[in-house]
Amino acid sequence: MQRRSFLRSAGACGAVTGLAGCLGSVGIGDSNPDVVLEEPERRFESSDVPYPAWGEPVPDTTVPAPLDSRDVRLRDIETPSLLTFFYSHCQTVCPVLISTQRNIQAHAKNNGYGDAVSFFPMTFDPARDTAQRLRTYAEEMNVDADSENWHFLRPASKQRAKAVVQDQFGVAFQRTDPEDMDMYMFTHAALTLLVNADGFVERAYRSKSPNEGTILADLQTVRTA
């Protein structure tokens, strides 16, 4: 752990519990009572990265779910859940991220645990990803968006998308205007989160093509714990 981020972590909770009490909760110990999965093998601590990582709580944020006509407070979700960040006009990474979620949704339904997992793909392009567009996109991607467990999330404005996706979830995105295309696109980071029923991040998969088998195995561990 870098000294700077160590100090930041210690500062964040030191006032409450004192330094000694803090160390265990920032990941220096081997285990964390808030999560089921063991700390992943990696060369950094969760507090070193801008996205919510292993053992950290999901950001306390509320985002509209336009196809459900309601708002979702992420900390109130009561099942293990998968989150990812996308925009529907994306032709590279997003269809892969969404199709991975879709295949896991199908696996859950086929294996009788459809109500024990929830899916929250969040767009960062609210200008184009209207409710109608998201419905069309779901059909293109063969997603069962009418299922109780699938909820597209759409921040209400461009500013709100920046605030939630970039600032709270640490998923950087930037608009581009490719010369060979007649519409704007985004460059963006890839992130899929597995969050447990208590709202803590079990795994942050940073891959542009997440390994479905790995997520299915992790999800099984989390939901049967």
Binding site: P50, Q91, T92, A172, A189, K208
Partner: protein, 175 residues
């Protein structure tokens, strides 16, 4: 998140762009060819040129063109058209297309078969719901074309749309 963290996020995660439907494999080693032994047995569908059952991929003892696709992948339609264009030139070559989409109640085998028929598929089409073939070939995107010789050696692997000339150049020395 402050600005420094934003910059770190961009540098740390890597930004993605471009205009291909390429699914970059995330972690080196996760999809290495040694993870899974070829050939793999896959379920096949009842569709034009294909019968329900199972088959080995690649086809043992035969030069095989393996086309990995998904129905949501627009260039995969084009790849099917390219394969259709050259297939008649290679009577001794086995063609097989496989999707990693997992059938469900709402997106069934019949839906995949309908997509296949609509796009002019006319050979064996199969399912790889666990993406094991993608992993075994180390596929870095969709569409992904692999060409395997009659001994099972992978001679060619290509992410993104592969054109007729590219495929002919690869197949001609093998047949």
């Amino acid at each position: 998140m402050n600005r420094r963290q934003t910059v770190a996020a961009i540098a740390g995660l890597g930004l993605t762009g471009g205009s291909l439907w390429v699914a970059q494999t995330g972690l080196p080693g996760m999809t290495s060819r040694s993870d899974t032994e070829l050939p793999l047995r896959v379920e096949t569908l009842d569709a034009r040129g294909s019968t329900a059952g199972e088959t080995l991929v690649p086809t043992p003892g035969t030069v095989t063109v393996v086309d990995l696709f998904a129905t949501w992948c627009a260039p995969c339609d084009d790849q099917l058209e390219v394969l259709r264009a050259i297939r008649s030139e290679y009577d001794d070559v086995s063609f097989i297309s496989v999707t990693n989409e997992r059938p469900s109640e709402t997106f069934t085998r019949a839906d995949i078969a309908a997509w296949w028929n609509r796009n002019g598929g006319a050979w064996t089409v199969g399912l790889d719901p666990g993406s094991e073939l993608l992993a075994a070939f180390g596929a870095g995107g969709l569409p992904y074309i692999a060409i395997v010789d009659e001994h099972g050696a992978i001679e060619f692997g290509h992410s993104g749309l592969a054109g007729t000339e590219t495929l002919r150049d690869q197949l001609d020395p093998l047949v």
